[in-house]
């Protein structure tokens, strides 16, 4: 009983982390139909820059901003100089971003080395919270849930209740029409890309505080983001939340009860969803 409860909570908190990481990816794909396979690299960039900011200033909260801004800058640069010219060519963008991610991963390795970095999380977020049945549960993981919910609400408000949100939704439905009614597509694209990248940058700091920063994390989070977003449906924020929950729970419960092959579960889910609903659970064709 205790194990099941712990595994479920672990699954939900991991889902929160996956949602935070994947939200940027789904936003960018939904609005701009850009397949950014350098998404994981942006995660790492946000994490490392955030780490530098935290070491210099001594404040973990500033790292969140540092990571967001750093990743947003790199993301916008990527979009403006490289990705924009391949608008509409899914596959080409995928390949280009793969190339960028290879280079980024290696350059980060050169700059930061192979050591594992850990954030000094503020005291009130570290340690464990006493809970019934399970004894104690890590505070930071609970904070992740709070953060993910806040993010979800924030994004929902942005998309449903603001003018910018209307533009985004219109862009998801029909990008060309959006341009035809006079919206400056370049500016909107850049803003969306910046927002999406900033989200990933923050996710980098948050995720690395829960776990750690190390080379190879970019590939791992890219894969998990892909699974989450595809299962949920590209371009759908609620879809990303559902996908994250499915994947997070499957992974942790799998690890608790049948660890040997649990690593395969999230990929099996992805393949199954794609075979049954080719655009994901809540996704729509372009």
């Amino acid at each position: 009983m205790k194990l099941l409860l712990l595994a479920t909570m672990n699954g939900v908190t991991l889902a929160a982390l996956y949602f935070i990481v994947a939200s940027g990816f789904t936003l960018i794909f939904g609005m701009m139909r850009v397949v950014n396979l350098a998404h994981g690299s942006l995660y790492l960039i946000g994490a490392y820059i955030g780490y530098d900011v935290a070491s210099v200033t001594g404040y973990w909260f500033l790292a969140l901003f540092g990571g967001a801004i750093g990743a947003a800058l790199v993301g916008v640069a990527m979009q403006y100089f490289v990705l924009d010219r391949y608008q509409g060519q899914d596959l080409r963008q995928a390949l280009v971003t793969i190339g960028l991610s290879l280079i980024a991963a290696d350059l980060l390795l050169a700059r930061y080395g192979g050591m594992t970095y850990q954030f000094e999380v503020p005291e009130f977020l570290y340690g464990s919270v006493p809970m019934p049945i399970v004894g104690g549960y890590p505070t930071f993981r609970l904070a992740l849930i709070v953060f993910a919910i806040a993010l979800y609400v924030g994004l929902w408000l942005l998309v449903q209740r603001t003018r910018f949100g209307i533009i985004i939704r219109a862009g998801v439905d029909d990008r060309q029409m959006l341009g035809a009614v006079g919206i400056n597509l370049t500016r909107v694209s850049t803003l969306v890309f910046a927002l999406g990248s900033a989200l990933v940058g923050v996710a980098g700091v948050v995720g690395s505080s829960a776990l750690s920063i190390a080379p190879g994390e970019d590939a791992r989070y890219l894969l998990s983001s892909l699974v989450v977003v595809i299962v949920g449906g590209m371009g759908s924020i609620p879809g990303a939340a559902i996908g994250a929950l499915l994947v997070g729970l499957a992974e942790q419960i799998g690890l608790a009860y049948f660890p040997t092959y649990s690593v395969v579960i999230s990929f099996v889910i992805m393949v199954a969803v794609l075979a049954w609903r080719p655009y994901g659970l809540l996704g729509r064709p372009a």
Binding site: K2, L3, L6, A7, N10, G11, T13, L14, L109, G113, G114, M115, T116, Y117, Q118, F119, E120, V121, Y126, G127, S128, G135, G136, Y137, P138, T139, F140, R141, L211, S212, A214, P215, G216, E217, R220, E251, Q252, I253, L255, A256, P259, T260, S262, V263
Partner: protein
């Protein structure tokens, strides 16, 4: 059109010949170094090459009256790549001796390749899989460092006798090195009467260990952890945050310098954790002090003390140099004299004497250690006990040891 194609072929042939000609040594011995500089193991790879560099510098890049030419190659931890690089070093760069590789799976691949190149000599760098020398060894593959099971000598006994643990849970990476280390620990612990009540195997690639931690039974007196590098850091942080109170027993890689040097709140969990390895810190001998001083002076950007991979490659290179000196640098023909000399090399290192057994596997000292904090806040492995002359069968008769089979998830077992 045809001219262009012929021209291209001529160019290829010319380049190839140029390459192969550049490979002909004048009066140099060519030594290849293979380590993992690719990917996340880069820190270990850097340590490996630092060690070789220092060893060569100490000998002034000369041995047996001949100059030494050092050619480096890097792999990424995958056996296929290690094999390709080993081939390049031997066949293209024409090295006479190859020192490496770094990781277990690579070591097995290089050993098999060694059997196909009987006229060259291969000396292990740091790879610690037991089977490399115990099962179907290659006559030209030498390992001057101890294997993963040997590294745990003394720890099981210490955990039972001194720490008083009776029931232990194991959390380990789900692969052969994990099985080997666990074997080394359980060999002694179970023999003493201890019980391993739960074995929690974590697949490679897992980042979030929280559900594995949730499986640790409350009954366990202690948790034996065997994870590498970044995984170890993650595990320790999550263990700390989960509010778990059971003390830890560490496998060798968990308290390697690369982990101890990483900064973070997980460090307070580590202090007091016992472990065992072929290396330790702050040993009270002059030889050790000189060894560390040399490292720090030569590599001010290195770690706070030399790591295990550093030692592995250092010993390997020193042994090669010693053998070269003995045979006057003769590595021509079938290298029989050189290998004979190499098999008989006995070294006196900072960690004690090293010699080889009949499978060309090292017999050396093992240190039971405990993590402690220095005045400046850095962590180190304080040696508690030296287990001298640990051989590959951990002091047990060879037939019985081998008969128990290769370590696996269920072997050994003492619930």
């Amino acid at each position: 059109m045809i001219n262009r194609r012929l021209g291209r072929l001529a160019l290829v042939a010319g380049v190839a010949t140029a390459f192969s000609m550049s490979a002909f040594a004048q009066n140099t011995v060519r030594i290849g170094g293979l380590a993992t500089l690719d990917g996340p193991f880069v820190v270990l790879g850097q340590e490996a090459f630092r060690a070789m560099e220092l060893a060569f510098e100490e000998a002034n890049y000369t041995a047996g009256g001949r100059k030494i030419e050092w050619i480096k190659e890097s792999s990424d931890g995958r056996p296929d790549v290690a094999l390709t690089k080993a081939r390049k070093l031997i066949e293209q760069d024409k090295v006479d001796i190859l020192i490496g590789p770094m990781s277990g799976g690579e070591g097995l691949a290089v050993k098999e390749y060694a059997k196909q190149v009987p006229n060259k000599t291969f000396v292990n760098g740091f790879s610690a899989a037991q089977e490399t020398t115990l099962v179907s060894p290659a006559p030209n593959f030498f390992r001057f460092s101890t294997d993963g099971a040997q590294w745990q000598a003394g720890l099981g006994t210490y955990a039972y006798d001194v720490k008083g643990y009776r029931n232990v849970a194991v959390v380990s990476g789900d692969y052969s090195f994990g099985y080997t280390q666990v074997l080394g620990f359980m060999s002694e612990f179970c023999a003493k009467g201890g019980k391993v009540i739960e074995k929690i195997w974590v697949p490679n690639g897992t980042k979030d260990f929280s559900s594995s931690i949730a499986r640790i039974p409350a009954k366990a007196d202690a948790v034996y952890v065997m994870l590498g590098g970044a995984d170890a850091v993650n595990f320790l942080t999550q263990y700390d945050q989960s509010g778990a109170t059971q003390p830890l027993i560490a496998g060798s890689n968990v308290v390697d310098q690369t982990v101890l040097s990483a900064k973070g709140p997980f460090q307070r969990r580590l202090v007091g954790t016992p472990s065992a390895h072929m290396v330790a810190d702050e040993i009270d001998t002059q030889a050790y002090r000189d060894y560390v001083a040399q490292y720090k002076k030569r590599f001010p950007n290195g770690l706070s003390s030399p790591s295990a991979p550093y030692y592995g490659y250092y010993v390997a290179t020193k042994a090669v140099l010693a053998a070269l000196n003995q045979v006057g640098g003769d590595v021509g023909g079938d290298q029989a004299k050189f290998r004979q000399a190499l098999a008989n090399v006995k070294l006196d290192t900072a960690y004690g004497p090293v010699r080889l057994d009949e499978n060309r596997q090292a017999i050396a000292n093992i240190y039971v250690t405990e993590v402690a904090r220095r005045a400046d806040g850095s962590l180190y492995n304080r040696p508690l006990k030296v287990i001298p002359n640990v051989n590959q069968t951990l002091g047990q008769p060879k037939d019985a040891f081998v008969a128990r089979g290769v370590p696996s998830r269920d072997n050994p077992s003492c619930p």
